[in-house]
């Protein structure tokens, strides 16, 4: 009689070990492909590994050894924000390490964590927890990337950092960059393709390039839009929300930086210009200062701010119209036209006056109705 076979006893073990084998083979294959096909990727990975290594033995770095980054995008550091950060550090301790780049002189340059470093100094901390990484190839881009991730940044700093990066990358002036961007977006908008542009933020670099080409974007326009898309930004939103920050009057910029005025509020307040109000520049600045104070003091929402602005405008626009000396003079003259003075005038001339007055009456009606709608806005 044949004995029972033993092979089936090993089914589980064989399944297990062939899984193991496959995994090992795949890992070896991945390793091989990586080295063979893409030495650059391998280099990047090497760097990452080194960084991880550094991360494991996270360093405690002397605060005094840390220098600021000269191309730090965050230009605004208010004493309030440092104090707020210091309070958080004191309460929770340092949660994330700052990122430092070693310098040849033995000191460190700050790549990320200016606020934490300043707060640590305020708390008189001797050392700060830091991740030390090799010097990135493109410092601007790296600083920008780490920095765009922060939500507590004001749009003005963001816009300035971005435009510095753009101009450096494509080698044009600030004005040119803004104009190129504005023109490109306007053209895409005119073609009704803004949605297509927005979608490009979420696809691969290659698809972005092809997408831009199909939108008719070539040359500098394409380069510029690609840079924005690479940073994960929506170009239309950059044009509408960030770029206008650069053209704000100085007082509004200052309010954003030092008093944390919000971007949307600043843009609305910017319409209180000397030109629109028909007043001198110092007068307009004074008017804006009052408005800024009120917005910040009473914490106005954007619609509330717009309402305030409308009231301010109405004041100037209506005062302007009632004060016309010309109309005053005409009114005076017409009053002089008494029944007696008209009696001696020929029919032809009276007819002429009459048709003129009818014509002017229509114009006045028109002006009155326009005034009404204006103050209703």
């Amino acid at each position: 009689m044949a004995l029972p076979k033993i092979a089936t006893k090993f089914d589980g073990a064989i399944q297990k070990s062939s899984q193991e084998q496959k995994i090992a083979e795949l890992q070896a294959e991945v390793e091989r492909l990586r080295v063979e096909r893409s030495p650059e990727l391998e280099l990047e990975l090497q760097k990452l590994r080194e960084q991880l290594q550094n991360h494991k033995s996270e360093n405690e770095i002397d605060v005094d050894l840390i220098d600021p980054n000269p191309s730090q995008p965050r230009q605004t550091i208010t004493p309030e924000s440092i104090q707020a950060k210091a309070r958080l550090l004191k309460k929770h301790g340092q949660i994330t390490p700052v990122i430092l780049v070693p310098q040849p002189n033995g000191r460190y340059m700050l790549l990320d964590g200016q606020l934490r470093t300043e707060a640590a100094k305020l708390l008189k901390w001797q050392k700060i927890r830091a991740l030390v990484v090799p010097m990135p190839e493109d410092l601007d881009s790296s600083a920008l990337m780490t920095f765009l991730g922060f939500e507590d940044l004001n749009p003005l700093d963001k816009a300035e950092a971005l435009v510095t990066y753009l101009t450096k990358s494509i080698g044009s002036s600030v004005d040119e960059s803004i104009t190129v961007l504005a023109t490109a977006i306007r053209r895409i908008d005119r073609d009704g393709k803004v949605k297509e542009l927005t979608k490009l933020a979420a696809v691969s670099a290659q698809e972005q390039q092809m997408g831009l080409q199909s939108l008719g974007m070539i040359g500098t326009e394409q380069d510029l839009l690609l840079l924005l898309l690479e940073l994960g930004l929506n170009p239309a939103s950059v044009k509408a929300n960030l770029m206008p920050m650069l053209g704000l009057p100085q007082d509004l910029k200052q309010a954003i930086r030092e008093r944390c005025l919000k971007g949307a509020h600043a843009l609305a307040l910017a319409t209180l210009s000397a030109k629109t109000l028909g007043i001198s520049e110092p007068e307009a600045t004074k008017e804006r200062k009052l408005a800024i104070d009120q917005v910040l003091k009473t914490n106005l929402t954007v619609p509330e701010t717009r309402e305030l602005i409308k009231q301010i405008k109405a004041k100037y626009l209506s005062e302007d119209k009632t004060e016309s000396k010309k109309v005053k003079a005409v009114i005076q003259k017409i009053r002089e036209l008494s029944g007696e003075s008209l009696r001696d005038v020929g029919t032809e001339q009276l007819q002429e006056l009459r048709s003129l007055l009818v014509e002017k009456l229509a114009a006045i009606d028109q002006a009155v109705s326009e005034n009404k709608t204006e103050s209703d806005i």
Binding site: P4, K5, F10, K16
Partner: protein, 262 residues
């Protein structure tokens, strides 16, 4: 020269683990290499096979695995003429195993000891008990290689299959890196006269191949093994001309190659 840590594992008793351990140790000693045999078996079978008197607990592996071990390894030389030492076992190892379950890095205790307090031997052989408990988990975690004796009977074969799965799963769970390599199966206590032995020996190559594990030549059954062990000697010493002494040659060759590998 590389230090190899070889676990001799099986999930069934009496399949020739200790026989395999002492004969491999002796063969390597003959080739001029130094060997430390560590007895993880609370039944201390190595003592019998090496002709050693039972040792007091502080002079055995229990000391090495104890919490306050400071690197004072206690091992005794055996069979005078070669560089072979034995770190003896003790019944207290069974209790120790329970304590290891709740100790931090309990599974890695032996591995940690060998790393923190390395021994100079070329080969370390871990002679393990026939259960898949904490002591064997410690052996696996400390090993570079595993050797599996298989007696060609159903109970032992089932045990070997379970053992292979256990090795893979446990290596995974302990995240051993690198994972210990299964050096191979060794058909043991083989008796030409037993039909079952003959039939199962025929079936083994295919299984080994599918498991991608080496199949070593069989170690024959011989009363002379028993006689030799009664004198606390390996067969090579007890009866140097006995044909069964040749049964360990390929394993010895492989281990020497591994040790001398760069």
């Amino acid at each position: 020269m590389k230090q190899i840590v070889l676990s001799i594992l099986s999930n069934a008793g009496g399949v020739g683990k200790t026989t395999l351990a002492v004969h491999i140790a002796y063969s390597l000693g003959k080739r001029g290499l130094s060997v430390l045999m560590i007895d993880l078996d609370p039944q201390r079978s190595l003592d019998v096979f090496c002709g050693l008197q039972p040792a007091e607990a502080p002079n055995t592996l229990t000391n090495v695995l104890s919490k306050d071990f400071k690197g004072d390894w206690s091992y005794v030389p055996v069979w005078s003429e070669s560089k072979i030492d034995v770190c003896q076992g003790h019944p207290l190892l069974a209790e120790m195993a329970n304590e290891l379950v709740i100790r931090k890095r309990g599974e890695y205790t032996l591995a940690d000891r060998l790393k923190s307090y390395p021994v100079p031997h070329n080969l370390i052989i871990l002679d393990c008990p026939a259960t898949l408990g904490m002591l064997n988990t410690n052996a696996l975690a400390a090993s570079t290689h595993v050797l599996v004796p298989v007696q060609l009977e159903m109970k032992a074969i089932s045990g070997a299959a379970e053992l292979i799965e256990w090795c893979i799963n446990t290596s995974d769970e302990l995240q051993l890196d690198p994972k210990p390599t299964v050096l191979g199966f060794v058909p043991s206590i083989y008796d030409e006269k037993v039909a079952m032995h003959r039939q199962y020996l025929e079936q083994l190559p295919e299984i080994a191949q599918r498991l991608q594990v080496k199949l070593y030549p069989k170690v024959r059954n011989s009363n002379e093994f028993k006689n030799a062990s009664a004198y606390g000697q390996p067969l090579q010493k007890y009866r140097p001309k006995h044909p069964a002494t040749k049964d360990f040659k390929q394993i010895t060759d492989d281990l020497v190659a591994l040790i001398k590998e760069k």
